[in-house]
């Protein structure tokens, strides 16, 4: 029996481009569903998002490119988009079809990108999204006419409702492989002649010719990014000279570079729209305008903004708590269960204190991450996100940043991990990097237990400032302030040294308001949450195991025997606590604590504090548990436990019998925790977001140095007052 013959499988690569705020991600998700892979392009911070879908027997591979207003590369990140489109990257196949998604209610500016895309010489489909909004604005479309003008198929779409997707898929199959040589350049004749001339000069002797589109860009790129050798290798001084001469000739002919591009393209856009798209005769004041009037109002706008900030803050701080506590509880239960099943020993300890605790350290962040990204997705999708940047820009510009850094930094007060991930909205590389580097200085919720423990034990509960504010609360506020002041100083320093350069311009679209789509919001929230688990999880896990091993090995039974011999009168649970304490002193961690004592002594710390601080580098909140073990109380201590507070108060130096802890020591520890990068998750996320180990290493170093110096001066100055 013969099998029916199956037609040969073919795969079509689709590149998806579009302006920001056009619903591009929504379209990508609607087309590809769960069949997505996310990675990074080497050397840049651009995410490589590829999804798959099939229509009949045809497999499609869809590359989602970052939202952009223009295909004029000015940085390696922007170059990626152009390189992908021109098939110049090894990592992704050259696209067979380009889908350019445009906002139907804002066609003039959106068609600018289309005019550039058409010059790439690839089969193209224009997806006309947000038809509903456009129609509500009273805009009338003759899509047939527009399609004829542009010379490419046009598919009307409402991506958030899934309307028009079938037509788009059909259109992709129809247009793939069709010729594109009928396209008419938007540029004047003289300009095209110069480009042809340069192309000939550049590619005459070259084995890998530079595509025409890039030659055109070279002529237009007065900023010099393309010709500095990084992006294109074959540019020499002689060619540079040709470019300069060409620009001079064009300028003399009345086509000044680079202005000629925008002028030609917008003239082309007007031509395309003529007769195909009609605006309403009388401009209507849309609902969006009315909303905007309130939301950017001097008083109402500021009030609403402050309320929104409070709600988000409250949500991440307290709404996440029940979920975090449940995760914590479940992890503890699992740990106990394993502890009951397995005999005491290295394996049990590895599973309970290493593996389970490590997984817990990753999962415990999820509630905060999901809640924050839920809010951010809602704000982005309804169009308010751009307004927060607009409202806060002036304030943030005093720190050398722009309004777009506000939400990421604010979120970092709850947890730097989602804060750093939220910095993706900042398209300027330098601003984004500065924001990422200072975000961990915001006092996150994991520092709270440390503050609460030490303040409760060592700061007197008296009232200051006329009896209105307690000294304890004031100290807490001071700790938050330490982080903020340090962040401002570091931002200033970075701008003066490592990340020098002009202040990036603030040119931002304020998109129309719309009702957020639940599907989009949930999709974005889960996408980012799981990205964190996948990418940061392994590192956090590894570091936790490492610290576990340092605290466990080497371990000899003699320690236990000796304790039992020395304290025969103690009951079993007291004995176990003492044995645990003695074991940790014997371990690598304990020895490290002793070894670094000379270094931490100027901070007022003994070896036990040093130990606890080392152990808390993967996650600062473990310091309390470690202190509990070292001070022979067992590991299950929390910041409110009086016994730990008492034990700290009564700890003494062995040589002098003086108490280890006093107010300056407590303050010095708190300042250290306020400034130090004791969070493997944060470092892992910085690695992921900057796509390089350099920046997490830098963050770790600068914060550790800063924390040490901060703690040192706190203790030394504090001691002047004590003695």
């Amino acid at each position: 029996m013969n099998k029916p013959s199956i037609p040969a499988q073919q795969e079509i690569t689709v590149a998806l481009i579009g302006n920001p705020n056009t619903g591009k991600s929504t379209l990508f998700n609607a087309l590809t569903g769960v069949r997505q892979r996310v990675g990074n392009y080497p050397g840049v911070t651009v995410e490589k998002k590829i999804g798959r879908f099939s229509v009949g027997n045809t497999e499609y591979q869809c590359i989602d490119l970052p939202g952009t207003y223009s295909l004029a590369p000015r940085s390696p990140d922007e170059m990626i988009t152009v390189d992908v489109l021109l098939g110049r990257l090894q990592e992704v196949p050259p696209p067979d079809v380009v889908v350019c998604i445009v906002d139907a209610s804002n066609l003039q500016r959106n068609l600018y990108l289309v005019s550039q895309a058409l010059e790439l010489g690839l089969p193209t489909v224009v997806a006309l999204n947000m038809m509903d909004t456009a129609r509500a604005k009273g805009i009338h479309f003759d899509t047939e006419k527009l399609s004829k003008n542009l010379g490419v198929p046009i598919v009307p779409l409402q991506a958030n409702r899934g309307i028009g997707l079938d037509a788009l898929r059909e259109s992709l199959a129809a247009v793939a492989g069709t010729p594109t040589d009928n396209r008419i350049s938007p540029f004047p004749e003289a300009f095209q002649t110069e480009v042809a001339l340069l192309e000939e000069q550049l590619n005459r002797a070259s084995e890998s010719p530079v595509p025409r589109y890039l030659v055109e860009r070279l002529l237009l790129d007065t900023g010099g990014y393309l010709s500095n050798g990084e992006a294109l290798a074959s540019i020499d001084d002689a060619f540079q000279n040709h470019v300069l001469l060409a620009r001079k000739r064009l300028s003399a002919a009345g086509y000044p570079v680079p202005a000629v591009e925008a002028m030609s393209r917008y003239a082309w856009v007007a031509e395309m729209l003529d007769g195909a798209v009609t605006q309403p005769a009388e401009k209507q004041r849309s609902t969006s305008d009315q909303i905007d009037k309130v939301l950017t109002h001097k008083i109402w706008g500021t009030t609403i903004f402050a309320c929104m900030v409070l709600i988000i803050f409250q949500a991440i701080f307290s709404w996440a708590t029940p979920a975090m506590e449940s995760i914590d509880w479940a992890i503890g239960k699992i740990g106990n269960l394993i502890g009951d099943i397995l005999p005491t020993g290295a394996l049990q300890s590895l599973l309970v204190d290493g593996v389970v605790a490590g997984v817990g350290a990753v999962l415990v962040f999820l509630p905060q991450i999901f809640i924050l990204f839920f809010f951010i997705a809602v704000l982005e999708d309804c169009g308010y996100m751009a307004r927060t940047a607009y409202l806060m820009d002036k304030l943030m510009s005093h720190v050398g940043l722009s309004g777009k850094s506000f939400i990421p930094l604010l979120s970092s007060f709850a947890c730097a991990v989602p804060g750093i991930m939220a910095a993706r909205v900042i398209e300027n590389r330098r601003d984004r990097l500065v924001t990422i580097l200072i975000a961990p200085l915001m006092s996150c919720s994991a520092r709270l237990p440390v503050y609460i423990l030490l303040i409760g034990a060592f700061v007197p509960n008296t009232k200051t400032l006329g009896g209105w504010v307690g000294l304890q609360a004031l100290t807490m506020f001071g700790m938050y302030l330490v982080g903020i002041v340090a962040a401002v100083a570091v931002s200033w320093l970075l701008h003066k040294t490592l990340l020098k350069g002009e202040t990036p311009p603030f040119v931002m679209e304020l998109p129309s308001y719309k009702i957020p789509s639940l599907r989009t919001v949930v999709q974005r929230m889960t996408e980012r949450g799981w990205a964190f688990v996948r990418r940061a999880g392994t590192l956090i896990f590894a570091v936790t195991i490492l610290v576990w091993a340092a605290a466990y090995f080497p371990r000899s039974p003699e320690v236990e025997a000796q304790i039992r011999a020395n304290f025969p009168a103690l009951n079993e649970s007291e004995l176990e606590k003492r044995i645990a304490g003695a074991n940790i002193e014997q371990s690598i961690l304990g020895r490290m604590g002793h070894a670094i004592e000379p270094v931490v002594k100027p901070l007022g710390w003994d070896w036990r504090i040093g130990c606890a601080v080392i152990a808390s580098f993967p996650a600062r909140e473990v310091v309390i548990g470690t202190l509990g073990v070292i001070y022979n109380l067992g590991g299950e201590q929390d910041e409110q436990s009086l016994s730990l507070q008492e034990r700290l108060q009564s700890a003494t130096w062995p040589e002098t019998d003086k108490p280890v802890f006093n107010l300056p020591v407590a303050l010095s520890i708190m300042v250290f925790f306020a400034l130090c990068a004791q969070c493997a998750a944060t470092l892992a996320v910085i690695k992921r977001e900057t796509n390089s180990w350099r920046w997490p290493a830098f963050t770790f170093l600068y914060m550790t140095v800063l924390a040490y110096l901060g703690a040192l001066s706190t203790y030394q100055i504090g001691m002047l007052f004590v003695s």
């Binding site: 209610s105 804002n106 500016r109 007065t222 950017t296 607009y390 002036k394 311009p505 040119v507 998109p511």
Partner: protein
């Protein structure tokens, strides 16, 4: 010579030219601020900066420093 930074609310102005040929001026033109196009100031952020404009049927916000690169005339 008037620039966008000095326009008053609600008044329609026309772009004459963009000063300079650096990446900022290119960016402004890409966003639609080309000679001949009409622009209107919609409002200011609560702290007085940045500014919000309407151009080519959409809303664009610029800081004063950027807006002062755009030379305009009364319509």
């Amino acid at each position: 010579m008037t620039t966008l930074a000095e326009t008053s609310r609600g008044k329609q102005v026309r772009v004459v030219q963009i000063i300079g040929d650096d990446s900022l001026s290119l960016r402004l033109m890409e966003m639609g601020l080309t000679p001949g196009v009409e622009v209107a100031l919609i409002g200011l952020a609560p702290l007085g900066d940045p500014m919000e404009f309407e151009v080519r049927d959409y809303r664009l916000s610029l800081r004063r420093t950027e807006a002062s690169r755009v030379v305009v005339e009364q319509v």
